[in-house]
Structure formats: C-alpha cells, structure tokens
Symmetry: C2
Subunit: 430 residues, 2 copies
Amino acid sequence: MIRLTGIPDIGKPRVVIVGGGFAGLKLARSLANADFQVVLIDKNNYHTFQPLLYQVATSGLNGASIAYPFRKFFEKQENFFFRLSEVEWVDAEQGVLTTTIGAIPYDYLVIATGAETNFFGDELMRKNAIALKSINDAVMLRNTILCNLENALQAQDEEQLNLLMDFVIVGGGPTGVELAGALSELRKHVFPKDYKELNIKQMDINLIQSGDQLLKSMSPEASEKSLRFLTDYGVKVWLNRRVKSYDGQTVTLDSGEELKAQTLIWTAGVVGSPIKGLKEESIIKSNRILVNEYNLVKGYDNIFAIGDVACMLTPEYPEGHPMVAQPALQQGKLLARNLLRILKGEKPDAFKYYDQGSMATIGRNHAVADLKMFNREFKTQGFLAWLIWMFIHLISIISFKNRLIVLLNWISGYFSYDKGIRLILGRKKD
Amino acid sequence: MIRLTGIPDIGKPRVVIVGGGFAGLKLARSLANADFQVVLIDKNNYHTFQPLLYQVATSGLNGASIAYPFRKFFEKQENFFFRLSEVEWVDAEQGVLTTTIGAIPYDYLVIATGAETNFFGDELMRKNAIALKSINDAVMLRNTILCNLENALQAQDEEQLNLLMDFVIVGGGPTGVELAGALSELRKHVFPKDYKELNIKQMDINLIQSGDQLLKSMSPEASEKSLRFLTDYGVKVWLNRRVKSYDGQTVTLDSGEELKAQTLIWTAGVVGSPIKGLKEESIIKSNRILVNEYNLVKGYDNIFAIGDVACMLTPEYPEGHPMVAQPALQQGKLLARNLLRILKGEKPDAFKYYDQGSMATIGRNHAVADLKMFNREFKTQGFLAWLIWMFIHLISIISFKNRLIVLLNWISGYFSYDKGIRLILGRKKD
C-alpha cells in the first residue's frame, strides 16, 4: 500500500511542482489566484539565487542573503502547499508522485528540477572536484579556500605549498569566469593582508577552457574582453585544453601539460536532472526532458517540464534554450497562463523565448554585457557593464531586506577592497 | 623530535594566547603596540559574539553577522600572528605548547579557552541533547527546529506529533530564558503562517529550572518579571525540578513527572575548558583554572588564565567571578597592562571586577536589566530594559557592517513580526 502524504485535498485540480528554482517558483507564484491547488516539492526549504553563489564561495556574501524560505515567500498564497522532500519516481499511469515522505497524487505534474553538474562519467573527477550548484557547495568551497591558506602556513616544502596555494577552475563559462575573477580579487586585495607570512604571489589561479574563447555563448567582444580582464588580473587562462584526469593533486591536460593543485573547481558543464519513471523517449542526451512548444513532456498529456531540465527543440534553438534563468522564468510564467487556459478548455499558447541578453562580471569595475532590448542589441564591456550587472542582479534578489544586505556588502566591499565573510563555518571538502 | 610550527621568531618575547573569545581577543588587541609577539591559537578562524547565539538558533540572525574573522580584526596589528589549530597539551617545563599543527614555544602562555557545556557526566544526555556554545551548534538547532515542524506535517499519530512539536529547555539562566522567549515568538508570530496545516497551539515550550526562580544570578525583580513574561508568552516553566534522564524522547524529572520531546536543549551549566598538562593543583572543581589576583595560574610564573576558564577566589566572589563577558574583557585588558609592567620589571596590578550589571531579553519589548553605573544600582524590566539590552548588544558587536546588518534584521523583524533566516542549511541533530 502506498502511504499518502498528509497534503489535504482542497477540492481543486492539483498542480504538483517539483523544484523551487527560478522556473518552479515563478510558476507557483503565477498560480496565486488560480483555481488550482499548488504543491511545491523541494529538497531545500528555501529558494537559492544561483547567479551569486560564486560570491558566497569567495567570501563576498553570506549564504543567507541569497536564500529565501519558500514558506515565507508564499505566506499569503492560500492555495499553496509545501513539502520538504525528494522525489523517488513518478507513476504516470496512476498519476502519483512517490517522494521520500510518501505518495502525492497529482492532476498536473510540473518537473522543474533544473540541472546538475556534468562530470562526463569521470567518477574520479566527481570525487575530487568541487562543483558549485548549491549554497552548501559554495560554503564548502569557501571553507576549502580559506583552510588551504591556513594550512599553507604549515607547508613543509615548496611542492606542498603549491598544492595548497594553487587553484584550478575548469570551464570558461560565466561561473568559471566570475569565480576566477573573484578569486583573483581575494589574491590581490585580501590575502596579502591576511597572510603576511605567505608570499601570495605564489598563488596561481588557472582557468581551463576547452574552446578557443571564454564565454562562448556571448558576443566575440565579450569573449575577448573577459579574456583580457582576467589576464590583467593575473589569471592563467588555458584555452583549447581539456582536462584528461585529476587525481586530487595532479591535473593532466589533453595537451600533455600538468598542473598541481589540491583544489579543482569544476564548472565545465551541466546536464538535466530529470526524475525517474518517465518514458525513455522523453529523455534526450544531456539528460534533459523533451517538451513540445507548450512545455508538455513528450508522450504525456498532464506532465510538463520547465527551466533547465526542459529541452524544447526549435529552429532558432536546435539544441534547446540556454540553461539560464531567463527561459526558466518565462516558461514558468507562460505555463501558469496555459494551465488556466487548459482548465477553461482553451488552446494554450506556444512558448517563445525573449532573449534579453546575458552578462558576466569579472571583478570590480569590470563586466561584460550583451543586452537585447526593444529588438536592439547593445554590447558593452567594463565599468558600465559592471554597473548594469549589479543593478540587474540586485533587483532580481527576493525581498527588500536581502537586497539591502547584499547592497551593503557590495558597497562596503567596494570601498574597503575587502570581502568580509571569511569564515570557515561547517564542513570543508574531505 | 618535536615539529615546530612555522611561526617566525621576531626577536620579541612571545605571548601565546589560546582562545579568541572575549578575553583572548581583548588581550591580543590591547597588546597591539607592545613590545611582544602575540600569537593567537583558535579552533575557529573567527571570533563569536556568543550572547546572540540564541537569535541565530531561532532564525532571527544569520551566523555570519555575529562572527568576525580574526585575521581581518588584526589586519593592521604588526606583532600579531594567528594559527588555526587546537591545543593538545602544554609542556610548562620546556615552555612549549603542543598543538594539532606542531609545537609552539612561548615566553608567556595565556589560557583563554572559555567554558564548555556541563552535562554532569550524563553521557546519554550529551548524546541526545543540543547545547548552544558555537555558531555550528546554533545553526544545527535552527535546522532541527525547522525540520521538526516540516516532519510534523507527516506525523502518523498524536504521539509522534507531540514528540516533534514540543521542546524542552533545561536551565533557567539567561540562555534558557532568552531561548524560551525567542522560541515562543516563533510559535506566536511565524509558525502559524508558515505551517497553516498544523495546529500550532499544540506546540509546547517547557523550561526546566532546578531552583525556585529563573535568572538566579540577577535581582529578585528580574527573576520575578522574567517568570511573568515567559508565562504570559505561554512558556511552561517548571521550577524546582531537575532532569533525571533523557533518552531522546522521554524527559524524566526528579519529581517523577515525564515530558515527551524529541528536542531537548541543555543550557543548565558550564564548566571550564582547561588545557592538558597543567598541574593537578591548578585545576579546581568545575574544571576552572585557579589563578591569583594577577590571573597567574597557581604553580607557574609565566602561565596565565583569563575569562571563563579562570577562577580567581576573592572574598566578594568566593566561587570565582561569574562566567560572562564582563570579567573576561576586564581581565584581558588588565593582563595586557600587567604583561607590560612585568616586562619593565614593575609590579603588576591586582584584578578588581567592576560589575556593570546583567540583563536578559525575553522577547519583543520585554527584557530585564540590573545595571550598575557610578556606584548606583538601577533595575528596570519591560520596554526600557529591552531598549537598553538592544543598545548594549548592538554596540558590542564587532564592526560597523555587522552592527548595521543586525540592526536591519532587528528593525525588519520588529515591524514585520518575522524572523527571516528560516533556512535549513547544513547539518541537523542526528
């Protein structure tokens, strides 16, 4: 017998949303006044503002200021129910989702489980590398960076010193670039004061990119400038290199070169994170879920997928939309409207992605931005891009208080050249 | 052979301070321009403002806003050296401190290791109870409280529901009283909105106190009013009871009564936390280190103890000074001056404790305060005491930014009746 969870039946069609990232959160919120019961399942009790995780990892921000409790966010939404749990599998025939806390029947299921780090099957890499997908990951990375420097004070020889003080970041996308930039700021402005006994110039920051440019999803101008900014910061950028293996100490590149570092941060790709029980035909390579233009999962008539985990093949995006916040938010919003249309027997609207551009920050006063507004493109690099980056990220954070705290940290950090959350709190990488 | 740590010899007499709490931090800072090398050893890389730990545990504040990195605090102090490590033992004859990272020779050793929770040898209690001495403890307690409520939604019967929703706090000192007050605020203002599916009235908060009054170190007025405030908040205060046993579910009192709760918070006493290797005669019952009026440890001429771990027997304080922040700060400050006098061959000054009073907050608008200023006593309870409590705590926090963030959280919490850091982050009690 299946044990049901205690979610009450409120006599309305039930939409079960798995995952409270950008897509799931937007959908749940957009259904606020709809004639649905909205059930959100997540393994955390809070939403994470992922674009700023790298600042948590580099002591610029506190984890709590980029997290927001779901129950607080939906406090006044009467049709909303939350359960802290993880999905085990879906029984689509019965219309039941099995979770770690029991079974949840649904009328409509929405999979918004996002993406997970792609180690391309390299189990040794999975074990030895640090990924950056959650606040716990970010805090662990912060702890590891700080402990490395503390331990470097006790290093017995040059080899051990280098293992501790050198860092390797794999992947030249936004996360890799932003992390390399923030780490080099720590090296330039913070560590020389904190660790006067060490020669901080010995600290190497290596960024490894498989292609011949950084930020390859952005404009050539953005790619070029980000490379220049990082090189000016003293980051060693290795283009056209792939990591062949990493044993926890030695990084072997496909070019034959070797780097030594005890800490390797892996940002070189993500795959979808679908749930079990779906038909094989609905999962494509890269583990994303194949959906049609209404975000309906192939082979089902009441299971949807939105956000990073969903792959909608269109002429413009033959490999699916980019796995970033904007498509997720737009799909969440549209699906809410479409569910209402379906309820009324109307035909849903097809999804069309409005790309508003993308950006990445490299460090103080330096960012790159490719913006699209009113059908016009606008590219900028440097100080203006950096101001725009800060403004957009600040207004995107949930809650006035968190925005204030982030702003306060940024302002104080800007004028003091400091990153103040240098706390070794909780677990570090084993 | 003993492996030395890499702390350089700067040709000045070396003062090694173990522990960066109030006492150790004050001492290290007060030696800023002195002709000593100051070495601080701590198992954390940050100072913890312990008086506000209970607010971290009850989702009112973030851990980071009451923590401050040592290296940042001493950034400009040229004679300061920090090592993240734990003490193993002291070899007083050789003048060497052995730590987890190697041996550290000293000219003067100062033990400022503070206090630890006293479970009175009850190993079952140590295993099952939650203590509140560190930020990690506080975050774990917050996670546990929130998980209990999440799990209560899935409770199979009334017994399980009560185990999850009821809380037992042992100890009616400031920590127990403040925690009981903050928890009852969560119950009144936050949980009814977060957990509409639960009947929050079922949540019991029990406070167990061995004597016939709460806050027994304070005035009768403070004791009486704190009892009234807590009772008004719906806290069940059990006076004249001791806990006989706790198996993780059932709390058995010496009166024969039984309480059921999966979560028991133990605040019923502390003992000193001395280091190994000291002569037996220098450690007294309650594990504190016996010191003379100069904080010199009995039996040694270059080992001092300050703060909670030090026990100075005086006619006014026949059992030693209270284990709170004020004596620690004053002893740290005086010892800095005395070390300078010793260096000059002058006679040190004897310690005299200036008790400035004490206070405890019970909840919004409610605190009790016994203040001593200019040889006058001033007692107040209620709103004014609460304002004074906030002001004193706010100005005591290190750094302008942390003060601003705490103030921001307090103001936003006051007007919204909310405690916003309801994040289950990291580990909970197993």
